[in-house]
Amino acid sequence: MAYIPHTEEDRREMLATIGINSIDELFREIPENLRVHGQLNIPSFLSEDKLYSHLAELSRRNSDLVETVCFLGAGIYDRYIPSTVAAVIQRGEFLTAYTPYQPELSQGYLQAIYEFQTMVANLYGMDLANASMYDGATSMAEAAIMAHGVNGRSKIAISRAVHPHYREVLRTYCWSVGLDIVEIDTEGGITSNFTPVDSEAACVIVQYPNFFGVIEDLGKARDAARAAGAMFIVVADPTAMGLLKPPGEFDADIVVGEGQPLGIPMGFGGPLLGLFSCKDEFVRRIPGRIVGRTSDHDGNNGYVMTLRTREQDIRREKATSNICTNEALMGLAATVYMEAMGKNGLRAVAEATVRNTQYAMKKLTEAGGKLRFQQRVFGEFVLEIPKSPASVQEALLKKGILCGLPLGDYYPELKNCLLVAVTEIRTKEQIDHFAAELKEALK
């Protein structure tokens, strides 16, 4: 076996050194009745050539979104990924390292993480960011639990226009740790009814732009949180930050988000990247890893994992979270992406997204759809159509278009609606094609 280099002679010499005759003797402490006898009932091994063909065959059973044009978003976006991202994260020094417990051997990664933290904080307009959380949903759930830790209150108030999966994950986490959830209702696609936000609320959570693509009124949400003495938490799309006023400028306490749009393939939804940032004053309550700059005895600058006494391996049951291994490599991908795109590139991507979205809104309404909400949007919008969205989705798939997400399963009142996403890599021709085929399907 290629991955196990032992020859017969190696085994013989090693057993002789140990002073035994067979590898079996090393397992003598495992009771006989608990040992596997013979082979497991699993498939036979494949050599590398057959293995690759086998996986390639399985991959062809999918319709991938290279062939099919993707107008589906809902939290995961088909965006441009610079070729440099894969080139960097595939380097063995990064790919096959682990958590930088030995900083002297990990300065490269630690510095990249310090740059990551800086850029995520800057993107969101916050004081600092950690590195990192699993995904947007768990990052948001951790933020809610952190708010409870800060003010001791047990009611989590969350907008109904936050991604439905994020709210499902929040429900699971809150049930397990004993927190209640109240939902804040929307009107016309925007979070509006803040009456459930009272003096028992630990936090107010809104998404920016929200699940419908609508750019929420963060000032209003903040005022509701402040009036109740609750923490103000925003789930923000990093691409939109190329253009929109960041949540930090609205005095958000914690800003979290899904980092996938920052150079990470859609990958059927994993691995993803949870972004987490907050104000300075909460730094000792933040979950997960943080890298800090310090120096060695000769005065050389260097980087270490810091504020370690918050973490599970030191604090055990008193840790701020149980998170250990996180999404470092995806964080590195996002670091490469943010440095490659930079200030000018991210702005350009956000602008192109807006242009393409505006054009699609125009063309698809001309084709027979109707905008469900009359609000400003970024990158995504809710399109009402006079036919079952599922049947339209199926019809358009046959034309090579993945037209968006039918919303009925998540919002019964939107059962005639599709959530359509338009990124910077969609073209005028693709949008025109979508509009033409939609018109046809709606006939």
Binding site: R11, I18, F27, E29, L34, R35, F45, L51, Y52, S63, L65, V66, L72, P82, T84, A87, Q90, E93, F94, L95, T96, A97, Q102, P103, E104, L105, G108, Y109, Q117, T118, D135, A137, T138, H165, T172, M241, K245, G270, P271, L272, V283, R289, G292, T294, N301, L307, D313, I314, R316, N322, T325, E327, L332, V336, E339, G342, K343, V354, R355, L405
Partner: protein
Amino acid sequence: MKKQVPVPKLIFEQGRPGRIGANIPVPNTPEVNLTEAVGEIRETLGLPEVGELEMLRHFTHLSHVNYGIETGFYPLGSCTMKYNPKINERTASLPGFAATHPMQPVSTARGNFEILARVQEILEEITGFPEVTLQPVAGAHGEMTCLMLIKAYHESRGEGEQRSVILVPDSAHGTNPASAARCGYSVKSVPTDAAGNTDIEALTGLLDNSIAGLMLTNPSTLALFEPNIEKICEMVHSVGGQVFCDGANMNAMVGTTRPGDHGFDCMHLNLHKTFSTPHGGGGPGCGAIALMNHLEPFLPTPVIRREGEKVVLLKNRPQSIGRVSSFFGQFLMEVRAYTYLMAYGKERMADISRHAVLNANYVRERLKEVLPPAHDRPCMHECVLTAQQYKKNGIRALDISKRLIDYGFHPPTNYFPLIVPECLMIEPTETETKETLDAFCDALIAICGEAISNPELLHSAPTTQIVGRLDETAAVKNLDVRWKPCKSCP
């Protein structure tokens, strides 16, 4: 000799206004008035402005001052730093997998669901449990999900309030008590006896009907197989508790013994350890869980199951704990794990644990004179040694580890498990050659000699890297976790 690599500059100290590091998409749709479209536009955006080659060299430079498995031996105990086969990276980057969306219609993602079902099925057979879900995204996340299943199970029997305690051995990983706390449990510690096993008498004293469950790592973090495992599971079950197996050490068991046969109710796996998905500098982790049928109704949704020819997605599950992560877990990591599992197959699977255990015992044997094992028993996939004898020379386990860096090796895990004084935990894995193990053991033997003859060499180590030991106290005191262009800048 100090590494001949210049200290990397921060990216923020490079570049020039106006530069861009990628050939970005240019839209061909009509221009729009941005303020009309989205409202107020932000004024500043603190990201770098560097060219593509400049940016790439920056990361190449950083990689030169970082150490991975592909750089050299990485015997970090409890982390299973085995070779991550390159074919796995190729299969995971197939566009048919990488360019799929988690919310695209099920009928258009048959290949993905087939992979998920197959990984579940193979892991069921390897662990000996009838059910597996791949939704948890890391080891600690898997532990937490198992505890949630246990919590839901007790609640379904009307015992949710009463069962408020989780037992955790004193040798356990920190994630165990932290995950228990995250599920609202209080934690009681179970001592380890002199032989390194669970202290049965102490456990008996702790068991009553307030116990929700026991979290047990097997083989333990002392790298010892728990010989009383069946009895321990029976004892906990007899008071109505559940037993969770921390599967961090599954590499010792693959194809040799199955936790599902030991009496456990559920377990987690770290696919990034046992099944070779890359550790990536601290993630992505990949944490499947396996469970017995009585916990099945509580599985996170959606449940992925083979029904006849098709793999289906079950969402309507009234007793489910709900979703624990955004979508289906770390899908592209599952593709890697599947590729790895299929490279071994039924014929070769047991070779993993057999050679992992052989390598660990070989290292243990070669080092026993200078670094005695904590327990005089065969170890499993790693060996736990103590450097206590050098304390009188002023040498701690950490000093030995730091000196190993100067010899070109990544250090083992230090000071864990907490119950072994001056602990060095060495996990070679099955993918290392005898020559590498010999060179590593020779280095450690030499260092232990230096510990007596020239302890200063160890205290000042490492001296071969771009930095020496860093001031961690100052890092906390003068917290600097975000670069700013000037001291007073916001």
